[in-house]
Symmetry: C2
Subunit: 408 residues, 2 copies
């Protein structure tokens, strides 16, 4: 039973009237807060501003002598592969360094699968009557947009506390050869904040798939983006797939977009030797190689793994207070009322807020009508105000629904 | 009649023997010169090394206030569009700035055509039984590799002094709806060095094509790469297509790969409003935008059009002596003998050497057997040696052929 259901009719009406009044007061403030996108805030970017001038005019050579100013180097300079491979817990030889966006690596990989097929494909996916992807939901909208763009049918998979509903996944992939892939954000998931359990990773790695060219698209975007001193641990899926006899099943992606500079970072991809060899051959037709000077900048600026870890602690020092504000307001305004539940992630960029059934869309509309578009980098003060409004909208819409239910 | 045909049999045998002896002397030097790729030399890259440190930690904002460190900006920052549009003689609003490689822009555009079709397409090219491209030959090997990669049939078009044989082109495109495009390197062409005449540009713009979605892929890679004070002029094809009632016919490409830093440059694409609008919508599924800090670097370093023009004069001061060495040796060793002809381009990166029929492949083999793989940035001294060997190989192979012809 939630708080509202315990009220008498007149109590409910009075409560609703108070909430409406409070909402009107918010409206009168004419707020204009657009927080609809996960963009790092200036203070976060400032942490990496040293990247801009860390190279000198005479510092352009890679360890192996490569002149990073010139053409060449399809898969990255050795020291950048060395530095970034640990993010995906892969060996340097198992990774490819791309440009400034892991989204490009994902998009292009699926374009290649459509036009040429992957290792193990009987034919290019584009020649098949139907291609389907499993989409644990809620998930990253840009993953789903790629599916839509390529005409790939999306099958929604429910989330459980420790990842996608694996019984559902296993049943589907075993039965249908047109299911070619699954999108996963396995750590501090976008947007639920959860991290896949070892059991889920193992089941993904070992399950039988009817498609011979099924792939897990493992977007580990928040691999090192911890917010607490008790970070989540994620099982190494590349190793687990390999041990399960499915070495080529997974493509892993990550980037420094939310480590260094969002627009001028480094994207990485890891996979099996077969997949990497195949991919390099494909990439040769597309490019002479990514920007090596930007790789060298990242190597000079971060130096080594502990350089990145130190840096991520500074990031956490900026982000954690924002998470805390959100969690504190949710707790103080909505705690114990059974009107909403929310996630308390150990890292990443997202807190998931779940309302009573039927209320979510209305809460977003009400918040928007009062001037708050729910994530561009809010300041703490803005965030506090916005979250107070959101909490109020949850209460208001829930009360509205309860009023309607009782035909008052 | 060539020099060899005028010799008596014994004169020819003696001449051949001398050439063979000279070739052996080259072999004895055990040269190892790989000049098989058009890579800028270190001195050329040094001209742009100021790009590496021209931004400071506080200099990351574009004119419109965009924080270039952050996400966003699919098509380039305004001042970069302003600076680079003139290279393609387009308006800033008609261009898209890409990453570090125009090859990526070309490859991806054809991938999009295969999977989604272009504006004017009845269906995606990949759904057609056959797609064909016209390939003026000799041409850029990576253009042809893209065709091969996507299963596009290549139809060879002869080069004339002022561009592709337009009678051939017109006849083919008028008759065959599966001909979807033509590759053009219209200025200081790779590898012939020629520039298309106004007449050729006009005929390309006005010709009737059976395909409703025929496109000219106008790779103007050497647009501002002049080597003399009498640079070639190329007619503005975007304007000419527009005036001819075919505004959407052409996609123009260029890059700063051989202006600034080969591996860390800026690629650009220009086209009609319809094509650009369509392309941006497609790109939204692939990327959140290119590296804007690198665009800002280029703006700070070059400042304006005359900054780029000054810079290109410095480039020419490095490259022209190399062209001159090649031309001098060709003239001194092969001039007046009618064994070979060669181009004397006003810009670009290429001199084309044509041998007697049947000799070209053998000349390359002979040069290679003596240790010279014919372009990585040779020094002047290396270049002189290599060209002397090449000239000798032309004479040797020609003489060999003449000897064989006479059954000596």
């Amino acid at each position: 039973m939630n708080q509202l259901e315990m009220l008498t009719n007149s109590e409910l009406q009075e409560h609703y009237s108070t909430l409406s009044h409070n909402y009107e007061k918010f409206q009168a403030q004419k707020l204009k807060l657009d927080m609809s996108r996960g963009k790092p805030c200036p203070a976060q970017l400032d942490l990496s501003t040293g990247l801009i001038d860390c190279l000198s005019q005479s510092d352009y050579k890679a360890l192996d002598g490569t002149d990073c100013r010139n053409y060449g180097g399809l898969d990255g300079i050795p020291e950048a592969k060395e530095l970034f491979a640990w993010i995906l817990e892969a060996r340097p030889q198992d990774i490819i360094i791309g440009g400034n966006s892991s989204l490009v690596l994902m998009h292009d990989l699926i374009a290649r699968a459509m036009l040429h097929g992957l290792p193990g494909s009987e034919m290019p996916w584009g020649k098949l009557e139907k291609v389907k992807f499993l989409c644990p939901s809620p998930g990253y909208d840009r993953h789903f947009a790629i599916c839509e763009y390529f005409g790939i049918e999306m099958i929604t998979i429910d989330y459980q506390e420790d990842g996608p509903n694996m019984a559902q996944v296993e049943q589907l992939v075993a039965a249908d050869s047109s299911i070619k892939g699954i999108w996963c954000v396995p750590k501090y998931s976008n947007p639920t904040g959860i991290t896949y359990s070892d059991a889920v990773v193992k089941r993904l790695a070992t399950m039988s798939t009817k498609a011979t060219d099924f792939r897990i698209f493992w977007d580990n975007a928040y691999a090192v983006h911890h917010l607490t001193s008790t970070p989540d641990r994620l099982l190494n899926i590349l190793e687990t797939c390999n041990n399960a006899g499915h070495p080529d099943r997974v493509f892993l992606f990550s980037s420094t977009s939310k480590i260094s500079l969002a627009g001028s970072g480094i994207a990485i991809l890891a996979s099996s030797e077969t997949n990497i060899t195949w991919l390099k051959k494909q990439m040769m037709f597309q490019t002479i190689g990514p920007d090596k000077l930007n790789q060298l900048r990242h190597v000079r600026f971060f130096r080594n793994q502990s350089g990145i870890e130190d840096h991520m602690r500074k990031q956490a020092a900026i982000i954690t207070p924002k998470f805390n504000v959100v969690l504190e307001i949710l707790e103080s305004k909505l705690g114990g009322k059974n009107l909403a539940s929310w996630s308390k992630p150990q890292g990443g960029y997202f807190i998931s807020l779940n309302t009573l059934p039927g209320c979510a869309q209305k809460v977003v509309s009400r918040a928007s009508a009062a001037g708050v578009v729910l994530t561009t980098f809010p300041s703490l003060a803005e965030l506090k105000l916005a979250m107070e409004l959101v909490a109020l909208c949850v209460e208001l819409v829930s009360a509205e629904q309860e009023v309607a239910k009782r035909n008052l």
